[in-house]
Amino acid sequence: MFENIFAGFTLLMNWEAITAILVGVLAGTVVGALPGLTSTLGVALLIPFTFGMPPAAAFGLLGGMYVSSIYGGSITAILINTPGTPAAAATTLDGYPMTQKGEAGKALGTAIISSFFGGVFGTVALLLIAPILAVLALKVGPPETFLISLFGLTVIISVSSKSIIKGLMSGAFGLLLGTVGMDSFMGYPRFTFEQIGLYEGVPLVAALVGFFSIPEALTLAKASQTVQKVEAKIGKVLLSLKEIKSLTPTFIRSSIIGTIVGIIPGVGTPVACFVSYNEAKRFSKQPEKFGTGIIEGVAAPETANNAVEGGSFVPLLTLGIPGSAQTAIYLGAMLIQGLRPGPALFSEQGPVVYSIILGLLIANIFMLLVGLAGVRLFAKVLKLQTNVLVPVIITFAVIGSYAINNSVFDVGLMFVLGLIGYLMRINGFPIAPVVLALILGPIGENAFIQSLSMFNNNLILFFTRPLSVVLIILTVFSLVMSIRRELRSQE
């Protein structure tokens, strides 16, 4: 193994590969920051550029894009409460309040350091124990996927802020939105209103952009009537050693959560982020401060979302099963380069495989440097007057929604959901539960129906699988503790 690692490192030590990684990181930061442009789109856009490149440089370019686009989503999440990617939805919960308190620089600094820690942790786990982690991926079936979704939904209580009832209603609305589209088992359309654009369900990116950017733009527009210029404070950027030390347990816990969620195919990065946020809140000595703008609230989701990267490569490289949309595109790139992912990959193409993994590590280092160097530049967005910022936000929301399927229908849908989001916002209904339930609802529903087929409709058989029992206990515990904690804080 170490010979292959060294050989992989040698493949990367040339100007072409290093430049490719750097270009990928720079492009990924921009793509991730722009609402509507996801890391999946970014990786897909770069595929044609890799055709003539040697494997190390090709995967370095893609790896740089993947790694930094996940981080890039946090920039707009923190500065203008509009996550650039679905992975940054949980970062808005404390990131934007930090900006409102004049701590935008600290929030961005926390995001980049957390992303680096999570990215390195996930990549090192991939490097050293990928075959062992692959066993976990094989043990997860539809019952476990359903229970993971259910566990993820308990996080709704945590992100409901002022009212649990309103949070639950938001979550239920998200579940309802998740039922739109073709029923994958019965084959009939649900709530599509005979619109072809809804047959595959509500596009997540359009929903995300709509629910976050339109309410934010309209809120800023309304506020600009009384406040002509928003105080644009960046504050300090680098965390002190004391702060980094205080965040270390959060880094480690969130990295483990992110890596494990990344290993499980089909669950998705946002789940890791919200679960990490919930767990950070649960283990915190001051849980009532979450949502008011604290560094733990930014560190938890940002560490987790970058840790997912390393985890998502485990099923791809060891089993040939892409664990996420991004790794599905990677699978295509690997086939183009003549690599066959699967159990024999590490033995037949060891140096190339390890160059992919080490490329991710180098990309994380470049991401840290670019992120730290660019914080003050990114934060210049805050200096824009509201009457300029509002059309900018709406413009990127419209173009980002169009770019998904080249369809104006998606733009219109984004706008309608945005208006609903605005009405929810002014009436005190939180948005995060809607997005979380929209992601988890379809995953959970499909997994539940598959489980019923497996168990011949006998639900008792859930309790015969050890991993399912563990997840049931975790879910019940999380639900009870979350309700207790929120009721106490509301008293």
Binding site: L37, L168, A221, V390, I394, I399, G412
Partner: protein, 113 residues
Amino acid sequence: MYPRGILLFIAVLAVFLFFNPQNQIKLVISNLQRGLKSYAKVVIIILTIGVFIALIEPAGIYTVLPLFSGGIMYILGVREVKKLSLIPVFLTVIVYLIFTIVLKVPVPMGIFD
């Protein structure tokens, strides 16, 4: 069955919310105190966005965008002619460079198609 179950759940929660009116009443009162006038500009902006979205495919994003962004700035109180003309053009150029030149993301070109 599943969507109906969710709707029933929302209905039950709505009943709970109705009987736990304290927060909701405060919100309604504060919204009413601000008055509908405070939402007038928001309604105009919403209508403007609707027109923008309706026109991007027939006219093209690069045709409509300068007019839209200038219009929004005007609604939000900008009156300097220099700002109203230069900033929308600058925004359009930035969008063109990022999406069409660098990222090669398809955007509706409308009359330039």
